[in-house]
């Protein structure tokens, strides 16, 4: 009812006008920068630029702000791959294989595949946005607290496969992550728990601190101890992916686009969940799952694709209902309202030229981002050529800035340092880190959706099995746990003590 070829063509006409093209380019450029720089995420990036757009008419202004949003998704993987600092939770799975690739001298290939995969997934999910926006918009509304809880349980069940052969250690790692996230105030009631009398702990442990600490600091500590001179294992450098790599990832990209797009429709579903699900799916479908975590190129393509598809998917509920799926889109919504544009079905009817210009500009913007990012690949990849005595201190500084900028509190930096030491010890003890990260990302949503579900159902746990969508996720979760345990039982026999290969 909303879509017509004419309107889309008009949209492209508007998006390709020199003025709009210029602002889309500016947005993509700033977005890529925002993604790469630690200390400034997409939401603060958009918020900072929001007042500057007042001199622009609404269409170019929103085109630019949207471009910053998806542009940041392109840039976000760079630090995860090159220096093992995932700037946000969604790029953690990227770091798992991306940094391994960088150490093997294949940073260029990893960066390039992440840009290509982002482009493919971004475009595929834009097709979804273009053709199915009104139909799919209500998808978001089917998700109430019980569905979110079931989804989170499914996410948590991935721990079994992320833990690899070190199942017990993986579970311990996950449960520690959960416990750490409970510290501080209950997100719903504000009640304090597990602060052990320390007032600072009331602010809670933010999962970004956990991630930066475990990954970036832990790695630097290990390198320092071993007096590493270069992070590269060898000096054979591969700047660009071979076509065969891209070809191998073709289904990976498409699958992760679909996953990312659908999960992007859900307000309140963290993009981190999406990227982990996409990563895990590829690991399961792969004929050689043991390569994952050791520099598999599919392990970079999947989360990056899913990440970008999520960001386009988020525009469906935003444009159709005015429901933002995350803080960055909430700021964008604020921008729309600043211009007196009220998102919702009415916007499609009263302002079709505006809506379609925005959607068309996103196709154009994805091309711009690809063209902008591919040539930069060589430059970013050369970072791994910097001698470690210079690179190491810089990584530490960047981590500190990244941690500080979560909430602009020094407390978060201290938490990050603590998790840096934890990450170092976990590496030594061969305890897998991915489960801890996943658990700390999921914890808040898990808790709030559980307590909301029980309030709605008046205390009955059956609600997770009587509502169809929730039931499907629960079944998937249970299935995946059982299958994971079965595979372990079949292959490993008694769990090998040392084998924590993730």
């Amino acid at each position: 009812m909303f879509f017509s070829v004419d309107l889309l063509m008009q949209g492209f006409g508007a998006a390709l006008s020199p003025e709009n093209l210029l602002w889309a380019f500016v947005g993509c450029f700033v977005g890529t920068l925002v993604g790469v720089l630690p200390g400034i995420g997409p939401s603060s990036g958009i918020a900072i630029l929001l007042p500057l757009t007042t001199f622009l008419p609404p269409t170019p202004a929103i085109i630019m702000l949207a471009a910053i949003y998806y542009g940041a998704m392109y840039g976000g993987s760079t630090t995860a791959i090159v220096v093992n600092i995932p700037g946000e939770a969604s790029s953690v799975p990227t770091a798992l294989d991306g940094y391994e690739m960088a150490k093997q001298g294949r940073a260029g290939a990893a960066l390039a595949i992440s840009a290509i995969s982002s482009f493919v997934a971004g475009t595929v999910s834009l097709l979804g946005l273009t053709f199915f926006a009104p139909t799919l918009a209500s998808f978001a509304l089917y998700f109430g607290p019980p569905e979110y809880f079931a989804l989170m349980i499914m996410g948590l069940s991935l721990v079994v496969s992320l833990a690899g052969k070190a199942l017990l250690k993986g579970l311990v790692s996950a449960i520690l992550g959960l416990t750490a996230s409970l510290i501080g105030q209950n997100p719903l009631t504000g009640a304090c728990r597990l602060t052990f009398g320390c007032e600072d702990l009331m602010a809670g442990v933010n999962f970004i601190s956990v991630i930066i600490g475990l990954f970036a600091l832990g790695e630097v500590f290990c390198n320092v101890e071993q007096k590493v001179t270069y992070i590269l294992d060898n000096r054979k450098i591969e700047w660009m992916p071979k076509w065969v790599d891209v070809y191998r990832c073709r289904w990976v990209m498409l699958r992760s686009s679909v996953i990312g797009f659908f999960m992007g429709l859900l307000p309140g579903c963290s993009p981190a969940v999406t990227t982990f699900v996409a990563y895990d799916l590829e690991k399961r479908l792969s004929k050689t799952p043991e390569r994952f975590g050791r520099g598999a190129i599919e392990g970079v393509a999947a989360p990056e694709g899913a990440n970008n598809a999520t960001s386009s998917g988020g525009f469906v509920p935003l444009l159709a209902f005015g429901l933002p799926t995350g803080p960055a889109l909430a700021v964008l919504l604020g921008g729309l309202m600043m211009y007196g544009l009220q998102p919702g079905p009415l916007l499609f009817q009263s302002n079709p030229s505006f809506v379609w210009a925005i959607i068309a500009s996103m196709y154009v913007g994805n091309v711009i981002c690809l063209v902008l990012n591919l040539p930069l690949v060589g430059m970013w990849a050369r970072i791994s050529l910097i001698p470690f005595p210079i690179l190491g201190p810089l990584i530490l500084v960047f981590s500190v800035i990244g941690a500080y900028s979560i909430r602009f509190m020094l407390f978060d930096v201290w938490v990050t340092l603590v998790f840096g030491v934890v990450g170092y010890l976990m590496r030594k003890m061969k305890i897998p880190m991915a489960p801890m990260v996943l658990a700390s990302v999921l914890a808040q949503m898990l808790e709030t959706s559980l307590s909301q579900s029980l309030l709605i159902s008046r205390g009955s746990w059956s609600v997770f099995f009587t509502r169809p969508i929730a039931c499907v996720f629960m079944a998937l979760a249970i299935g995946s746990i059982v299958r994971g345990l079965w595979v372990q039982y079949k292959t490993g026999g008694p769990e090998a003590l040392a084998d924590g290969d993730d």
């Binding site: 009640a191 005595p389 530490l396």
Partner: protein
């Protein structure tokens, strides 16, 4: 702690004790009115699971009698480098509010680059570069990082 078995035993026991501490702390969480999921339920559950997981790990390691797997702890020099890096990092973070992010970062980078074995020139150049880029970022993007001595 030399091999993974003993390391796992120590680590498991520590995690187990941590879990017990969480259980004790969770018991003191007061109930609020109108709750279906008591405030203490999840922390309690996590505490119990942490304790169980930790002790299980320790027991499993104790009963393990396979091949001995060494843990690669650093040598003396490694411990010293690690200690200096961590100490430097702590000093750096502690000084951020006093000196400001650009200056504290500069001192930290110069110090650590030098310590890790690069020349003075390389250290100073990297440090200055860091400080200037951080300062420009803060200034032009109006981010609220502490500027310390550079702020006015």
């Amino acid at each position: 702690m030399r091999n993974l078995r003993s390391a796992d035993m120590v680590c498991g026991a520590c995690i187990g004790l941590l879990g017990l501490a969480v259980v004790v702390a969770a018991m003191n969480i007061p109930a609020l009115m109108g709750e279906r999921l008591p405030s203490k339920a999840l922390p309690m559950l996590c505490g119990v699971l942490t304790a169980a997981g930790g002790f299980l790990l320790a027991i499993k390691a104790y009963r393990y009698d396979g091949e001995e797997i060494p843990v690669e702890w650093p040598d003396r020099g490694g411990w010293i480098s690690l200690g200096v890096t961590m100490g430097g990092l702590i000093a750096y973070v502690a000084l951020i509010e006093l000196l400001g992010l650009p200056v504290a970062s500069m001192l930290f980078v110069i110090g650590l680059v030098r310590y890790l074995g690069m020349g003075l020139m390389a250290g100073v150049a990297t440090g200055l570069g860091t400080a200037v880029s951080i300062y420009l970022m803060i200034h032009y993007l109006a981010l609220s990082f502490p500027l310390g001595v550079l702020g006015s």
